[in-house]
């Protein structure tokens, strides 16, 4: 049995990816704060280290040193389980994202992804939905009106927007003909497919915004009406976990979007130099993250009824029309 290939390599790969993801998440908060400041013609954090590059570290130390408080009225096991349930899916989502073509290391062929699942797209959908449980259980376990309302909104929002998201992914599936994310990146796509996918991209991106609870769909934590929604009863490290998982979710979703819609690690010379593929993927991910922040800086939060009516009355029919046209296009051009 190939112990090295089965256990050691995935283990090391997993640790490296975890470290990259968590560091990336920390710096994503700085990226967002800096960028949103520039959108508002401000400077943003610039006191902790040059250009504020130590700000995430300062934030982390502050949150870790806080007292761990468990309020008396909460459902304790569920209350403690919820942050983990929010974080783990956000991390697990990244497993199917290919970082680059296979590399040769110590005479061994190592694929630059955690797992090439033949139902990768379904895996992404499924794992992204599990993240909802963290939020819902947090709201439920907190035994607090605001938390519960936030959690209720989350579940409604996720269910409404997962549907069009699934349909858009089905359209993608029609074009690529495979569910494996690695295959989706590696199979060449005809030009009409790229153009057609980019036409649908804004709508898919809206569902991603809703899925990650980002502005303008950050209703679960509307601070002006729900204090902080499901996070209200959480403090210190447990709050940090929620905070990290939100940004982690954003990061992994961006990577998935970059992989599905912008060709993942593909780029000039990426085949010859596998590490260049990682750079391309990072650049594309940062571009999608820029879109996230750009939307947050531009659009006010939607009302709850607007959220629902947009999801069910516009986005779902649109996605179905998109699916139908994709099917026709695939038959005619493909």
């Amino acid at each position: 049995m190939d112990w090295v290939g089965l256990i050691l390599v995935p283990f090391i790969k997993g640790i490296v990816i975890l470290l990259i993801l968590l560091t990336g998440t920390a710096y994503l908060t700085l990226f967002e704060r800096k960028l949103i400041a520039r959108f508002q013609v401000r400077l943003g954090p610039n006191r902790a280290g040059p250009y504020g590059i130590l700000q995430p570290l300062a934030d982390a130390v502050k949150l870790f040193l806080k007292e761990e408080v468990i309020p008396g009225h909460v459902n304790k096991p569920v209350y403690l389980l919820a942050p983990m349930l929010a974080m783990i899916p956000a991390l697990a989502l990244f497993a199917v994202v290919p970082l680059g073509p296979d590399i040769e290391l110590f005479g061994r062929r190592i694929p630059l992804h955690m797992g090439d699942i033949n139902v990768g797209l379904l895996y992404i959908m499924a794992i992204a939905s599990v993240g909802t449980y963290g939020v819902m259980l947090a709201g439920w376990a907190s035994n607090n009106n605001y938390s519960l309302l936030g959690a209720m909104r989350t579940s409604a929002q996720m269910i409404s927007y997962e549907l069009p998201m699934g349909v858009f992914i089905a359209s993608l599936l029609l074009i690529t003909g495979t569910m494996s994310v690695v295959q989706i990146v590696e199979n060449p796509r005809p030009l009409w497919a790229w153009i057609w996918l980019w036409l649908g991209f804004p709508f898919y991106f809206i569902t991603v915004l809703a899925e990650t609870n980002r502005a303008p769909f950050d209703l679960p934590e509307t601070e002006n009406e729900l204090i902080a929604g499901y996070q209200t009863e959480y403090g210190g490290f447990k709050f940090a976990i929620f905070y990290i998982s939100e940004y982690l979710h954003m990061l992994t979703s961006s990577a998935v979007v970059a992989t599905l819609f912008f060709g993942g690690w593909r780029g000039p010379f990426a085949e010859q130099f596998p590490l260049l593929g990682i750079v391309y993927l990072a650049l594309k991910t940062v571009f999608v993250l820029f879109l996230f922040v750009w939307v947050r800086a531009s659009v006010p939060r939607v009302r709850y009824d607007q959220l629902m009516s947009f999801g069910w009355k516009y986005l779902l029919p649109l996605s179905l029309v998109y699916l139908a046209i994709t099917a026709v296009l695939v038959v005619m051009l493909g």
Binding site: A37, F39, V41, N46, W294, Y314, L318
Partner: protein, 158 residues
Amino acid sequence: MGLKDLYQGGRAITQALGVTLKHLFQPPVTVESPDREPIMVYPRFRGRHYLRRYENGLERCIGCQLCEAACPTGAIYVEAEENDPENPVSPGERYAKVYEINLLRCVFCGDCELACPVEAIVLGHSYTLANYERRDFVLTKEDLLNPPEPNVIVRPEE
């Protein structure tokens, strides 16, 4: 109906994105005062007080205590004493032996400035008045006679 709404909403959001993108490329308006950049103040800006001297080095304050009387919050405390004719501190008969201003009480109204007959007490441009200790907020005569150089740009009045 529905398609029209969708079009209008999409247009509005695109416009909003355009506005923010335009602002992204503008230089920030933030003034990193007071430690990195000076702030712009008008000449009549009322900041921290200071006591003036004549050109020959004599203190202007004659210890009349009119500022103390004029102060609406009682932030000023003056103790006057007779001048020694051989070695005068001020040109008048008396001078201020103790002159204290409690900045925690002061409302920077400028009434002391107006009340002073010899233009001794003046509100300057220094505005960085934060401190760690309560007692440090009480300006003594030493502090008032040797004011810190304010990090400001005085802009012309329109």
